[in-house]
């Protein structure tokens, strides 16, 4: 990348193409600086600013989408960043997540006396890292994205200073996350050793031109394995999932929502870049691994979720199971990776991630509002009779849970249908059937929450008082975020055409 000649020639940057990233970074800096030099802003101002920044980035990305469709994809910054519809799709998804999460955080942070610009700036920084991950065309850049995202998330997870659980969550995530980053980096090093390039296009070109020798092949396979460990950790796929329940439970609820949505989206973006785009020549080697990860995640996530008593843990396990579903889409994409016809795998992954992000943000959003001021009233029992106390919230939560169960006329059904369709198209019937059976097990746990909300005794005394108190501090921002999420969940279930159409065009990748 750096010219060997004495004179340094900087790469062509392409400022316009990077504008969503720049808006997010600029927004984060603005929040930090302006927040530091001005007296505390009026209520909701931080959240609204953050949402506007994210919305701005998303709007730019949508404009870019049109442009790429007309002009075709390209590579930026010395081939390090891919500027294609895949990256734009993930950018929009991540920006949407940030916007919704920021609105949710508003009420939560003020209730917990944590309000300030730092929280929101961290969201924006994390989103930047996530977008870099999903649009990286160089493994080193990808790693930078991973670290940017992860460091912000470590801080966010531990951000509730008065709760030891939050501290514990941050620390656990940090230690295990550092470990997985190390695996990822080691994997990058080994792949570099085998191919002589960290650039994804460079890797593809090298592998295209060279028949690997045995020794090199071993190096490459070891590298791929380590990469998959690192990325598997980030998406919380079983067996690399053990951190998820503890971290999601301990972290402040909006942060859990952020990790389950934007964090997961970014990590899957990275998986697409590394495996599907970068390593199509090894697809027969990594596809069975993805198969196993997918099945393990779906089964372990669903089964262990059934025995949970805490809603946040339950949602954490369900997020593991959803990661498995997305991996079903990746597995389908693997059949066609590197070919001319890319099939339905990646579009189905895109739709699933967008739909799931919105559902999971909504779900954690309801939990954030419903939990008491110490963020502890998240047991299943504290939701008994929730429907009679907060009917509107209960309806929204029911919508999210049914969507997660994949009930028709919700986005969850469309997402599941897409993934299963992709798998069936590639004749992976076994994984499709396992996925559907796992989703029945998972349906049981969503129904458990619904049961305790709607059919539990309305006179559950302890939670009642606390929840009534929480109700008074409720503001428009959280309700708006949840309302929007619910609306989106149903709208996609009824008129999915436009989203599917958009997602179908994310199979063209930028390459040299």
């Amino acid at each position: 990348m750096i010219a060997q000649a004495g004179e340094f020639v900087g790469p062509d940057v392409g400022w316009w193409a990077l504008s969503p990233l720049l808006v997010l970074v600029g927004g984060a800096l603005f929040l930090l600086v302006a927040g530091a030099v001005t007296p505390p802003w009026p209520k909701s101002a931080y959240a609204v600013t953050t949402t506007l920044i994210a919305a701005g980035a998303a709007v730019l990305a949508v404009i870019q989408w049109q442009q790429i469709r007309d002009d075709g994809p390209s590579l930026l910054v010395g081939d390090a960043i891919a500027y294609d519809q895949t990256s734009v799709f993930f950018t929009v998804t991540i920006c949407a997540s940030v916007g919704l999460v920021a609105l949710l955080s508003d009420d939560f942070l003020r209730r917990h006396a944590l309000d300030g610009p730092e929280f929101y700036a961290l969201y924006l920084v994390a989103a930047t890292g996530g977008i870099v991950m999903a649009s990286a065309n160089d493994l080193i850049v990808l790693f930078l994205g991973v670290e940017t995202l992860s460091l912000a998330l470590y801080v966010l997870a531990a951000a509730d200073r008065r709760r030891t659980k939050s501290q514990e969550s941050g620390l656990k995530y940090f230690v295990l996350g550092g470990f997985s980053s190390a695996c990822l980096l080691y994997g990058i090093a080994l792949v570099y050793g085998a191919t002589g390039s960290t650039n994804i296009s460079g890797m593809v070109e090298y592998l295209q031109a060279t028949v690997p020798l045995d020794r090199q092949d071993a190096l490459m396979l070891a590298g791929i394995a380590l990469l998959m460990v690192g990325l598997g950790f980030k998406v919380a796929a079983a067996p690399f999932h053990v951190w998820t329940p503890d971290v999601y439970q301990g972290a402040p609820s909006p942060v859990s929502a952020f990790m389950a949505s934007a964090g997961k989206v970014a990590a899957f973006g990275a998986i697409v870049r590394v495996l599907v785009v970068g390593l199509p020549f090894y697809r027969d080697d990594w596809r069975p691994v993805v198969w196993v990860l997918a099945v393990a995640s779906m089964v372990i996530g669903s089964v262990l979720a059934v025995v949970q008593h805490d809603i946040k843990r339950l949602l954490a396990y369900s997020s593991i199971s959803h990661a498995g579903f997305v991996l079903v889409g990746i597995e389908a994409a693997a059949h066609q990776a590197g070919g001319a016809e890319l099939g339905r795998g990646i579009p189905s992954v895109g739709v699933y991630l967008l739909a799931y992000s919105v559902m999971v943000i909504g779900s954690f959003g309801v939990v954030a509002i419903a939990s008491r001021s110490d963020d502890e009233a998240t047991t299943l029992d504290s939701f008994r009779g929730f429907a009679s106390r907060r009917p509107a919230l209960a309806v929204a939560f029911t919508v999210f849970l049914l969507a997660q169960a994949g009930v028709p006329f919700t986005s969850g059904f469309i997402a599941k249908f897409g993934v299963i369709q992709a798998a069936v198209e590639e004749r992976s019937y076994a994984i499709a059937v396992i996925a559907m059976v796992a989703s029945v097990i998972a349906a049981f746990l969503y129904l458990r929450i619904i049961v305790s909300m709607w059919m539990g005794d309305a006179d559950a005394d302890v939670g009642d008082v606390a929840l009534a108190g929480a109700g008074r501090s409720r503001t428009w921002s959280g309700s708006m975020a949840i309302g929007l999420a619910a609306l989106f969940t149903i709208a996609i279930g009824v008129v999915p055409g436009w989203l599917l159409e958009a997602a179908d065009s994310i199979t063209g990748y930028a390459s040299r």
């Binding site: 028709p408 049961v451 599917l500």
Partner: protein, 516 residues
């Protein structure tokens, strides 16, 4: 009559609009208005379904009132609706039953949510019966679980939460396989059809599957339908769900929701995979007959009146399965007719049992006695319905069962012989139950048993009228059912080496039955 008015879409939309209106109305201020709006939308739906029946072209084959709109173009999914002789009466039954069920029983608490769920359920059931697109069918087939789940769980009896959960998970487990089956059908048919489509009509005409593929796909669908019917080893959710459901829930569940399974077998099982269905015939005939005998024996042993009716459903649906898989024009027509008959008579039975519970707060047969003496009109109504369920000549149950048995005899002789014993067993458990509940001297607690009220009477009259009408003069129904059934059998014949036996009674079965 081809109308430009999209009547089928209206059949789905009307209850949905009603549900939304009810949900928006403030219940505290105007509960009466809300109830009226809900009931009105159900009545309008009923009127639409009657209009549909009136303008249905008798004797014509193929689907009528077809609506087709592209919905999700990328996946080849269209909003394709239509009715034929097989679905026509199920639609009418659904349309008429909901207002009756709403009128017949009060939910006692939280009437608003109850009404909303009932109307959504109606839309879902309607949609399942009239959709001609696999994807749309699956949507409706799956969505009906949600309102039913909440109805059982919210307004049922002691064990309601458990029963609701069991119901939901069992059925969803079945549909998990169908979900994969639906997608696989569309993709595997791509080669012979030339594009991806979920359109039932196109798939039925053009799709060709390798023998083993077709069998796998058939079983993927069959599991879902078998759970829904339910066919013998997959039936265990039914007694719980029926017993714990609120009265209206049981009525709807028995009368129309179980038919989703038997209807599915005819429409999708036989229609899409005739070869596989023919191949799997012995299995389903056997399971159907086992269901008849098993359901009857277990029903005899029940102490709970509602559970008894629930098990009797298993027996009756066994007849429908037997008829469907006997593959003759008569047997399948009998099955379709029996779907309606079972809907009417079991629906009415559940209503009556519900009314008994309202009066006595028990369903235990042992605690009921001598009701005939204190409430003779109630007892008379119960008796007519019960006899219809037994299959006494002159009432509807006889016509259906007779057609099924006579039609099956030609192709499935020994199964039919065993099944015929089920008719006797039905008489045993129902008459015995009637005897124990209604005969004898009423004791202290049963002496105050209230007579049938005017409102209940008005609800019951349409059921009784249907029972007697179909029993005496089934021709109008059979005239509309048979052409579609014959077409289905010809479709099966064209795809397999099966040849339907030419029965001398064949074409004139309807008229002969006319005399009762």
């Amino acid at each position: 009559m081809e109308t430009s008015f999209p009547i089928l879409t209206a059949l789905i939309a009307t209850p949905l609009v009603g549900a939304v209106l009810v949900a928006l109305l403030s219940w505290r201020r105007s509960a009466e208005v809300g109830k009226l709006v809900g009931l009105l939308s159900a009545v309008v739906t009923a009127a639409l379904s009657v209009w549909l029946l009136a303008s249905y072209e008798t004797g014509e084959v193929g689907y009528q009132f077809v609506t087709q709109q592209m919905w999700i173009e990328r996946w080849g999914i269209s909003w394709h609706l239509g009715v034929d002789g097989i679905s026509l009466f199920l639609v009418v039954l659904t349309g008429l039953l909901f207002p009756l069920a709403l009128l017949g029983v009060d939910p006692h608490h939280n009437g608003k949510a109850y009404l909303v769920w009932m109307l959504i359920l109606e839309a879902g059931v309607m949609g399942s019966f009239i959709s001609l697109d696999l994807f749309v069918f699956f949507l409706f087939f799956e969505i009906v679980l949600v309102p039913m789940y909440f109805l059982i769980g919210g307004w049922g009896y002691e064990g309601r939460v458990h029963a609701a959960l069991k119901f939901f998970l069992y059925t969803m487990f079945g549909s998990a396989f169908m979900f994969v089956g639906v997608v696989a059908t569309a993709f595997l048919a791509r080669e012979s059809v030339g594009r991806i489509t979920f359109d039932l009509v196109v798939l039925q005409e053009q799709a060709e599957f390798a023998t083993s593929t077709g069998r796998w796909l058939f079983f993927a669908f069959a599991v879902a339908f078998a759970v829904k019917v339910p066919i013998f080893p997959l039936h265990t959710w039914l007694p719980d769900a029926h017993t714990q459901a609120p009265t209206a829930g049981s009525v709807i569940l028995a009368a129309v929701m179980l038919k989703l399974g038997t209807y599915g077998f005819l429409r999708f099982g036989l229609g899409l995979f005739p070869e596989a269905a023919y191949w799997a015939r012995p299995l389903f005939l056997t399971l159907g007959v086992v269901g008849i005998i098993y359901g009857a024996i277990v029903a005899t042993m029940q102490k709970d009146l509602k559970r008894l009716v629930a098990y009797s459903s298993i027996a009756h649906l066994g007849f429908i399965v037997l008829g469907s898989f006997a593959f003759t024009s008569q047997s399948i027509s009998g099955s379709v007719l029996q779907m309606i008959n079972h809907g009417v008579s079991t629906g009415a039975l559940f209503l009556l049992v519900g009314w008994i519970y309202e009066r006595r707060h028990t369903r235990q047969i042992a605690e009921l006695r001598g009701i005939q003496a204190v409430a003779p009109i109630f007892a008379a109504g119960f008796m007519v319905v019960m006899l219809s369920s037994v299959g006494v000549p002159g009432l509807n149950g006889f016509v259906g069962e007779y057609l099924v048995l006579i039609g099956s005899f030609a192709t499935a002789r020994w199964w039919t012989v065993v099944a015929a014993a089920g008719v006797i067993l039905a008489a045993v458990y129902l008459l015995w139950a009637y005897q124990r509940v209604f005969h004898g001297e009423p004791d202290e607690e049963n002496r105050s048993f209230r007579e049938l009220t005017v409102r209940e009477g008005l609800v019951l009259v349409p059921f009784l009228a249907a029972i007697v009408f179909v029993g005496v003069y089934p021709k109008p129904l059979l005239d509309r059912i048979e052409p579609s059934v014959t077409e289905l059998i010809e479709h099966v014949e064209s795809r397999t080496d099966y040849v339907a036996p030419v029965s001398p009674a064949g074409e004139r079965a309807g008229e002969e039955e006319g005399g009762g």
